[in-house]
Structure formats: C-alpha cells, structure tokens
C-alpha cells in the first residue's frame, strides 16, 4: 500500500475508533506476495476492508446491478476464466449489441494505474461506472440501482457496515466493487513457485521462460505482473478508423496525441491460458495465433512499437519449437488458486 493510502487508512481508522466499536480495520487487498511490487494503487478514500470486499463480491455477482436484472459483472467476468468470458467480443450486454472490445482479465488490479484498453479510467472506482451504465453492458440507471439497493434491508446494513453510510450512494457501489476487484490477486502459478524457489519449472516451460526473456517479450509483459501498464501499437492494423467515437483508435481516444494512435494497453499474461480470445478485439483464438502474429503478421503503422519494426523483417521471429516452449511457459502462468478460490466465487 502506498504511503498515502496507508495514511488514509490510518486516518479512517482513527475516525472510526473515535466513534467506538465499528467496522473492521482497513486492510490491504490481500497479503502482498513477497515477489510483487510493494506499492499498490489504492486511493486513500477507499481503503479495503473485509466488509467492503464482501459487499463488492456480492454486488459483482448480483443481477440487481443490471437494468433488466438479467446480468451481472460476472456475466462477462467469469472467475473460472480469470474473470474473462471466452468470447472475442461479447453480445451478452443489455442491448445485445456486440461490444467493440474484448473483456479484460481482472487479476492483480490493485497494482493497475489505469483501466480500459485505452486507459480511459483513472481508477477502479471511476471505471465501475462505465460498465454499470453503458447501454451495451449492464445498462442500469444509477438512481434506479441505489433505490433497489435501499429497498433491500440486507444491502442497507451491508453498506452501513462497510462505509458508515446511512444512505446508499452510487459512489459506495463503485467503491465496494473496486475493493472486491483489488482482492483478486494471482500469484500462485507454477511460475511463482519457480521464482520463489518452491518448485522448478519443467524443462519445456523453463525453456519458454528463457525465450520469453531473450526475445524481448518481457519488456512489455514485465514480471511479476506481466504487464508494464503502458500502451503499445503491436502492428495489428495499418490504420485506425475514427468510427464509433474513436473506440478503435486506442490510447489516442483519451489523449488525442498523434503518437498514441493505435496504442492499446498491454494486457497481463497471468492466466492467459484461460483468457482467450486475445487482443483488444479478441481477433486471435489461440496463443499459437498470437505468436504467429508476432512472427509474421506484424504490419507497419505510424506508431508501431520500434521493437517490432526491425529492419528487413518486422516482428519477433518465433520458430515452431520455440512457440511450443513459449506456450508451455504461458501455461505456467495459470494460477489454480485464483481460478478456484472460494473467496472469488459467488457468495
């Protein structure tokens, strides 16, 4: 937890203590794995507590958060798939229209510095309002949502206990969801056992790890989070249409800087075995197709990452046997504990 967040948590605790017996102590999203960065991106205004996480978990799986009460966050974020949905672009939202982007993995978000494929959301609390209100996603009116929650005595007491709130505000809905999402920590894969010395990788994934480093994959998919949190053009397309309010233009949509046209956020590779299809628009079904893209599918564009724009041949050469080793390594990033954790499942 950042120093500011720790101070905020302590300040919150002090106020609660002044009021006598009260809610549980602010706490970090979970025990921070020793080989993970120490600094979390937790806003001081929303320190995680057991009650906040539990409330967020309940909301995450409750169709009450959708306009027609037919879908929840978990509709597109299935815990068995590391909180993805297994389709390229979902049509499971309220309107039934196909979404323009692939549903992202929701693990290790406590270390994230921006959200959405273009980084448009500054924090998880602000991000939550996007899917809640978008007519192609959950499509709920926020006044309607808080009214529904107020009518449920168990939610009223849960919000009071989590936030000291006598009235349920949409801000508390977002904060509870953010707390639950920050609790989804994935750090128990075979790779983690390898780097912490608990168990060595098998030979094939171990070779894949070496290739992952040697070929430079590691430069954007930086361990241990396997993302740099930055935005890159990896040569998927030669141009980027401004249709649909710029949603196909990547980071440019947010910054309007020419250098950001076509740049999308680096996704984490943790649990990537179960999070396909891949890329911001889900265009590749398999990891082999992804590697084939890097080997011979990279196209030139104005902002193509220079590491992929080598002279002569663009991309990263990946021979078939190397691809097998790389895929084996990527499978070693699968974390059964995060996929099966009862605390991540519906309450």
């Amino acid at each position: 937890m950042s120093r500011g967040a720790r101070i905020g948590a302590l300040a919150g605790l002090a106020v609660l203590a002044a009021c006598g017996p009260s809610a549980d102590e602010p706490r970090e999203p979970s025990t921070i794995p020793a080989h993970f960065p120490g600094a979390l991106t937790v806003p001081a205004r929303n320190p995680s507590t057991a009650r906040g996480v539990a409330l967020g978990r309940r909301l995450f799986y409750d169709p009450i958060v959708s306009g027609d009460r037919q879908r929840s966050c978990a509709t597109c974020h299935d815990p068995a798939r590391a909180f993805t949905d297994g389709v390229a672009r979902s049509t499971a939202g309220a309107s039934g229209r196909r979404l323009p982007r692939n549903s992202p993995t929701l693990v290790n978000l406590a270390w994230g510095s921006s959200f959405f494929w273009d980084g448009g959301a500054a924090d998880l609390e602000s991000q939550a309002f996007g899917p809640l209100t978008h007519p192609d996603e959950l499509g709920v009116d926020l006044v309607e949502l808080t009214t529904r929650l107020e009518l449920d005595p168990s939610y009223r007491s849960a919000f009071r206990e989590a936030f000291g709130a006598e009235r349920i505000e949409s801000a508390f809905v977002a904060r509870a969801l953010a707390q639950f999402e920050r609790s989804l920590v994935s750090a128990s894969s075979p790779y983690d056992d390898h780097v912490t010395g608990r168990a060595a990788l098998d030979p094939l994934p171990a070779r894949g790890l070496g290739l992952f480093t040697a070929k430079g994959c590691v430069e954007c998919h930086v361990p241990p989070l396997f993302t740099d949190g930055q935005f890159h053009d990896i040569g998927l397309d030669a141009g980027f249409t401004d249709e649909d309010e710029g949603i196909h233009q990547g980071r440019y949509r947010v910054t309007h800087h020419a250098a950001d046209l076509g740049r999308f956020k680096t996704p984490t590779l943790r649990n990537v075995e179960v999070t396909g299809p891949y890329m911001h628009d889900g265009r590749f079904d398999t990891l082999e197709q992804v590697l084939a893209h890097y080997d011979h599918g990279v196209v030139a564009s104005a902002n193509l990452d220079p590491r992929l724009a080598g002279e002569g041949a663009r991309g990263i050469a990946v021979h078939d046997d190397e691809a097998r080793a790389l895929v084996a390594f990527l499978h070693a990033l699968t974390d059964p504990q995060v996929l099966d954790a009862p605390a991540h499942r519906p309450p």
């Binding site: 009021c19 929303n46 924090d123 991000q127 977002a174 904060r175 949603i247 949509r253």
Partner: protein, 274 residues
Amino acid sequence: MNSSTTPRSPTRARSRALARWALLLASCGGPAPAEPAEPSGTLTLHLHGRVGGEALRMDGTRYPNPGGAGSFELYDARVHLSHLVLSGPAGEVVEPDSVHLVRFSASGQPFALSLEHVPPGRYDRIAVAIGVDAVANARIDHVGDLDPNGQMAWNWKTGYKFFVLEGEVHPEEGESVPLVHHVGFSESYRPLTCAVPGGVEVPRGGGAEVDLEVDLGQALREPHLIDLVGLPSVKLDPADAALIADNYADMISVRGSAGEGGSRCTVVAATSPP
C-alpha cells in the same frame, strides 16, 4: 450539494470549527451540542437561461444557427458551477465543497441556488467557476451534485461534462441532425468573477436575491462563431471543447437592480484549474 457557507475571519473560523465538531460528534450517535448562535441570512442566486436576447425556451423554439444557415433547438441544457465565493464590505464567504449542477428547465423557470448561513451585510462580488477543478475531475465516485447519477460524468474517460447542450440542428437543406455539445476536460474549467451592481444586502435572519443571466447562445457566438451545421457534436476532441469553453466563459452576467445596469462576469484565469 452543500449549501452552507464558510466565512473567513478568526471569530467565524472558530464558529466553523465548532460546527464541524458538532457534526463529527453527531455522526457518532451522541448528543450534539447546540450550534453556536450566529445570526445569518440566505442569499439565493436565480439563474435565468437565455439565448441571445430571449428567454431560453425548450419547447421547439428554433434559434438561428449563429455561424451559418439554418437553425437549432434545445432539449436540454446543464452546467456545473463550483467554487462560489461572496465578497464585499461584509467580508468573504467561501462555500465549502462548492459544486452545483444547474439544470435549465423547459418551462423557463430560473434555477435557484441558495447559499445559507451567510453572515449579514453587504456583498458586491461573486466568484464562481464554470466546471469542476482538476482535483474533483480526476475521479467520479463523488456524492451530491457530482454523483454520476446526474448524467454529467463521462463513461469513456474519467471526468465530468462541465457544460451540456442537447437538441437538434436544422440545416437550411437536408435532414436535421442531433445537437450534442458535451464539453468537459480540466482545460475547460473557467473561474469567473462577477460584480454585483449596487451590491446586495443580506439581512440578519432573512434572505436576499441576486439574478444572474446565463446566455447559452453566447457559448456558440464569441470569440468563436460556431456553425452548428459544421459542428453539431462536441464530445471527445479537446480542440472542439476549447472553442465552446472560450465562449461560455462570457455567458454569465448579473442583472442590475433598480436603477443599475447589468454586469458581465469575467474570466479570472482562463485555463488554470487549481
């Protein structure tokens, strides 16, 4: 929305501190001490929507396209005002957590915005900002008038729309198109200062009123003349937003009282959010 006000003077600061302690203690469930007795009044700002020289009407009334042929009509108009400060011989009164979502009504009724607990006396200046400051704009999990349920929060980028005009543009030829001007981004924040002609006296224990005119047409007129046929939508492009923000900085004026002329509010610092 927080409608109480914070006076700045040693005595008033002490009262404010006591009041806050009262609030803190009350929130713990214990008996709250009596609030310090400070005779105060209420100042109500009435915001009158205008388009040019006419009262705003959202009933199908068509207004000339400022920068070209054709016309437009409005269905909805909203603006965030923040950082209200009264000043004058009576001192300076700063409204804490000052943010107001002003919604103009289709019926033409002015939007009333009340500042309570105003120390009595004479005030001759109002400071107010169009938009919310960069700190507030950096997240959207706010309560009150910044609650995203006010439909002023973006859903694609963290931040708020500061100014919304929605309606329809009717070109001279061809089909009508939606008018959607959603102006946000911290660069569009405009702090203003407004002289109150003749001043306003807030009586002890009573109320006073000031009428402000908000000329929505000015948001399309000067210094950037907007052809709505060419620019029916302003949303994501900061350059488009800057045009409207430069214009709306001049859209508010204070009506004069009897015998006094009106006074246009002026920008304090064009693009320097605090």
